[in-house]
């Protein structure tokens, strides 16, 4: 975590995502990084506007055409930029802003560096309102990003819960990331270990090496419901998972985001 030099904030038509902006700036200030705001224009929206049946419900009227939608998107991007600038200035954080339109997935992957922390609030939820579809998520989720923070809540979380599984490619990276987010290093770190494996000894060694107190939770097999129950019961306020967590496969990520009462840090 200490190598992070840039916090990238993904924004889209839900540009009044002040919680995400505040969280990104807060994180950048904390990490000594700069903030890059990326305003993503979903090309499908423009296509939708060309549909003869497309209609909008808006206080400003229902009429819609592609040109008008483009103008609205520009205005929204400018507004998002202004809000980011304001927040960054207040905290004395360096910032940049860009608007991305075409071939979003490819552009995002190109932009994503290992040292970046991605912050994704309500962006990508164009479709289906609160519950993002996988297809839309893909539009904002850079495949190359190492750290992605979903649905931040203003400031950073302080009591993380780490989920490890037997196939985890970098379990120690997860533990390191969680440790970096802890408010009080002396407090125990909640670690959920899934399946029968040697994770216990790995965690023990890591614990001894770093002098961190671990509160282990062993689950043989875990469903999303079980995981969420442990999360609530332990009083944690942020979840740290690997991108390769099987539970996230398919529509798992969007279901987790829909039900998790806190931010999610995804580590590759």
């Amino acid at each position: 975590m200490n190598r992070i030099r840039r916090v990238i904030l993904a924004l889209d038509v839900a540009a009044r995502d002040q919680e995400s902006i505040a969280a990104a700036v807060e994180l950048a200030a904390r990490l000594g990084a700069e903030v890059l705001g990326l305003f993503l224009e979903d090309p499908r929206l423009l296509r939708w506007a060309r549909l003869p049946v497309a209609r909008q419900v808006s206080p400003w009227g229902g009429a819609l055409d592609e040109g008008r939608l483009e103008a609205q998107l520009k205005a929204l991007a400018a507004q998002a930029q202004a809000e980011l600038e304001q927040a960054a200035r207040r905290r004395g954080v360096a910032w940049q802003a860009e608007v991305l339109r075409d071939e979003l997935e490819r552009t995002l992957s190109e932009k994503a560096l290992q040292e970046d922390l991605w912050v994704i609030g309500t962006a990508g939820r164009v479709m289906g309102l609160a519950v993002p579809t996988l297809a839309t998520l893909r539009l904002v989720l850079p495949q190359a990003a190492r750290w992605v923070l979903w649905q931040p809540r203003g400031g950073a979380f302080r009591h993380p819960m780490v989920v490890l599984h037997a196939q985890a490619s970098h379990p120690e990276a997860l533990l390191e990331a969680a440790r970096a987010w802890m408010e009080h290093p002396a407090e125990p770190l909640t670690v959920v270990m899934l399946g029968e494996n040697g994770l216990g000894s790995l965690v023990q060694n890591w614990q001894v090496r770093h002098g961190v107190l671990v509160r282990p939770v062993h689950l043989r097999t875990a469903t999303l419901e079980q995981l969420l129950e442990v999360f609530v019961r332990t009083g944690c306020d942020g979840l740290v998972v690997g991108a390769d967590l099987p539970l996230l496969a398919g529509e798992g990520l969007e279901q987790l985001l829909a039900r998790l009462p806190g931010p999610l840090l995804m580590v590759r």
Binding site: L51, V53, Q56, V57, L69, Q72
Partner: protein
């Protein structure tokens, strides 16, 4: 040379020139043995008036203490007022508090003495406690949970509506999407929006179905979105209600603690009730953190306001604090400007603007004296713009309304505070001189209605043996009060004699305590210089002499001018139509007499006496009156049967300033008669006194100064035993001449003559008998009056000759 008979007949004996005080009649050795004087000697009338005025509870019975400066008006009034006030209960405390309904009209609350400070402290403590208690209540788990529940309810309600709509849309292959300005409906296939090209390829029926379904969903989505503001409004209302409830709960025990102390004061309880309502409605001010503003100026301003102003409206401005008072207040306002009487509203500069609030209301003397007594100097009140009018208005209205000069003039048009008037119950005591009292009585119709009691102070006291005893005790009291050395009895005797001199009357004593006190202080100083433990007669005499010396530079310059012949005054020889008159100059509190040469010239005329001073507007009206009286006298005595064919001119030689008063009229008459009779007047004699149309001498003022003034001129020129002063006989009682003059008279070097008429004066001045008309209606041959009459008759004859046809004498 004059006949000794005239001179002897009117010469005054030495004893009548100065009424000395015999120290041996006092039984004490020094004033240290005397009991201080408890009452105010000689002011019985004023005392009874003050006592009466102070005790009269009715409206308008305010007092005006009138009398000259320095007679002890303030001391007496202060003494009796304080005595009266001590017997009365302490006055109420008064506070101004914020008016929550009309903020620009601060509310006044009256509380029993001492409770105002208590309320102020209670409210300050309350605010301090609220600053902790309210944020704590809003940060409590209970509040946060309940607020979360409200938020969740809304979210769930919104979510449920959207979910139901979404589910219905999904069933029909339609998705709800977010657009930059709202929501939209899009036909989907799988999980992707159908592209326009794909849509075109759909069968027409499918297209129509989608279109109809979207139309219905569009209507429903619109309905859901339109409901959102209402739900949000409900949420805010619920949060407000929750906030009120939490605040009410948080402040209840704190306020009840304050209320418990004021159960007997319904007004205060009413105020606390309003405070509670305001706190409940505005609890967020205790939570806000304005320092977080992005704009540095706003942040600084916000912080400043948060630190110092936000809670001011719960403060108490303690206007009048009578805590610990023993009795009703007695207030003396030395500078009775409008703002110092009625109070004022101050302003503070804030970012280039002047702002104010009820905490900046300041009390005036009327506030402090409310329920008691206010002592003011009438002249100072009248000199301050609008102070007198507003004082009367307050007394009439029986309330104190704070008004600035610009308010009174109607110049102020900016929004400012209008503090609620405070009921007024005060007795005002004005101090002033008599002229002011009589002018106000004559010209101010409100005055006698509002100041019904006049306490008229005596300026002098009777000099009887008892009076002298009392005066001695007064001297002892003043010396003790001022911590001066005691006086021995000879010193007291000198002080009494000086008291008579100040009163300008041998049978009176001056009541000017300030002048007396000055004399004692200065004598004490000289006693200290001489190393004496007790003030002696020598110290008193030195104090008097030094006072005179310090003030007599001008007098000495005048005397020097006479000596050097610049000012022409003869003190020997005899001249026709020329006489020494005497005048008094009062400069800087010091008066001295000085001779002035008066000359008269006569000629044929129409019976008028020309007063040259009057002709050139240097003579005052009294002087002119005196001169006109002369014409009346001349006509009545010498020209009953023929025209007064005289033209006389009179002048004060070398007089370059104004002349006022008629005290020179006898001198002027003597000069005219001398000129008419062509009989010379002795220049070693000066004369003072006015005269009426019958030729009778009338008393004048400043007799002592005049005699002493002429004596000093004669002394400098050389006393020859023939010099002296003629005074009206009625002035004998006023003689308190200094010891030097008395000594000179005793040695026969100087003389004082007292006369009843101008004839007696002329006899002394000319050595000729004036003469009275005999049975034949003629004056004795050779008498002065016969000579005058003969001259006037000659004038009349000449006039008749001129008037005859072709007449030429």
């Amino acid at each position: 040379m004059p006949e000794p008979l005239f001179l002897e007949a009117h010469r005054l004996p030495v004893e009548s020139l100065r009424k000395t005080c015999d120290a041996s009649r006092f039984s004490f050795h020094t004033t240290a043995e005397l009991q201080p004087l408890q009452d105010f000697f000689g002011q019985a009338r004023a005392i009874r008036a003050v006592e009466f005025g102070l005790k009269m509870p009715h409206e308008g019975y305010n007092l005006f203490a009138l009398g000259p400066m320095g007679v002890g008006k303030l001391s007496l009034v202060r003494h009796f007022t304080q005595t009266e006030a001590r017997q009365e209960p302490p006055a109420s405390d008064w506070v101004y508090v914020h008016n929550f309904l009309e903020p620009h009209k601060p509310q006044a609350l009256g509380l029993p003495a001492g409770r105002g400070a208590q309320l102020k402290a209670s409210m300050e403590r309350l605010v301090d406690e609220l600053r902790v208690a309210i944020p704590a209540a809003f940060e409590s788990e209970d509040y946060r949970t309940r607020r979360q529940i409200i938020d969740e309810e809304l979210k769930q309600k919104q979510q449920a509506s959207f979910d139901a709509l979404q589910a219905e849309a999904n069933q029909q292959g339609i998705a709800i999407i977010r657009t930059p300005m709202g929501m939209g409906l899009a036909p989907v296939r799988g999980r992707e929006i159908i592209t326009p090209e794909e849509f075109e390829k759909l069968p027409e029926e499918e297209q129509k179905r989608i279109q109809e379904a979207m139309e219905v969903l569009h209507q429903r989505l619109q309905a859901v979105l339109q409901q959102a503001p209402q739900w949000e409004s409900e949420r805010r209302q619920k949060i407000r209600e929750l906030g009120r409830e939490v605040t009410r709960h948080a402040i209840a025990h704190l306020l009840s603690g304050v209320r418990a102390s004021y159960q007997d004061l319904p007004e205060v309880l009413g105020y606390l009730e309003v405070v509670e309502q305001d706190l409940i409605e505005n609890a967020e001010q205790f939570l806000a953190n304005p320092g977080e503003s992005e704009n540095p100026l706003e942040a600084a301003l916000g912080k400043m306001l948060a630190d110092s102003r936000s809670f001011d409206r719960y403060r108490v401005n303690l206007l009048v604090d009578n805590a610990g008072s023993q009795g009703a207040p007695v207030v003396e306002e030395d500078y009775p400007a409008l703002a110092n009487l009625l109070g004022r509203i101050e302003y503070r500069a804030q970012f280039g603007n002047l702002v104010t609030d009820f905490t900046l209301i300041r009390p005036g003397a009327l506030h402090r004296a409310n329920g008691g007594y206010l002592i003011l100097d009438a002249r100072r009140v009248l000199l301050q713009p609008y102070a007198w009018e507003e004082l009367k208005r307050a007394l009439r209205a029986k309330e104190i309304q704070i008004r600035s000069v610009s308010d009174v003039l109607g110049l102020s048009s900016t929004v400012t505070l209008q503090p609620a008037p405070i009921p007024l119950r005060v007795k005002v005591i004005l101090l002033g001189d008599r002229l002011l009292y009589y002018l106000l009585s004559a010209y101010d119709p409100d005055f006698l209605e509002l100041f019904k009691v006049a306490a008229d102070f005596e300026e002098d006291l009777k000099r009887t043996p008892e009076g002298e005893e009392a005066y001695a005790r007064l001297v002892a009291s003043l010396a003790q009060r001022e911590q001066l050395r005691p006086l021995d009895r000879e010193a007291v005797a000198r002080v009494i004699e000086h008291g008579s001199r100040l009163a300008a009357d041998a049978h009176k004593l001056s009541a000017a305590l300030e002048a007396l006190l000055d004399l004692l202080r200065e004598a004490d100083h000289w006693a200290a210089q001489a190393g004496r433990a007790v003030m002696t007669a020598q110290d008193i005499e030195q104090a008097v002499a030094q006072q005179v010396y310090r003030a007599s530079r001008l007098k000495e310059r005048l005397q020097e001018a006479v000596q050097r012949g610049t000012l022409l005054v003869d003190t020997s020889g005899a001249k026709v139509g020329q006489i020494n008159g005497l005048s008094v100059l009062s400069l800087g509190g010091y008066s001295f007499g000085h001779p002035t040469r008066i000359t008269a010239r006569v000629r044929l005329g129409k019976g008028e006496v020309v007063d040259i001073e009057r002709e050139v507007a240097l003579g005052g009206p009294l002087h002119s009156k005196g001169v006109l009286i002369l014409a009346g006298f001349l006509g009545e005595r010498y020209a009953r049967e023929r025209p007064l064919s005289l033209s006389a001119s009179l002048v004060f030689e070398q007089s370059y300033g104004g002349v006022e008063g008629d005290s020179a009229s006898m001198a002027e008459l003597c000069a005219i008669l001398s000129a008419l009779a062509q009989v010379p007047i002795r220049q070693g004699i000066a004369i003072t006194g006015s005269v009426n149309q019958h030729g009778q001498a009338q008393p004048i003022g400043g007799v002592n100064e005049k005699i002493e003034g002429f004596f000093e001129v004669c002394r400098d020129a050389g006393l020859n035993g023939e010099q002296g002063v003629i005074i009206p006989r009625a002035n004998i009682q006023h003689l308190m001449l200094n010891l030097e003059v008395v000594e000179a008279v005793k040695k026969g070097q100087f003389h004082i003559w007292a006369v009843n008429s101008v004839d007696e004066a002329l006899s002394i001045l000319t050595g000729l008998e004036a003469g009275e008309r005999g049975a034949d209606g003629r004056f004795p041959e050779g008498s002065l009056n016969a000579r005058v009459e003969a001259q006037l008759k000659a004038f009349a004859e000449q006039v008749r000759a001129f008037a005859a046809p072709g007449g030429n004498p």
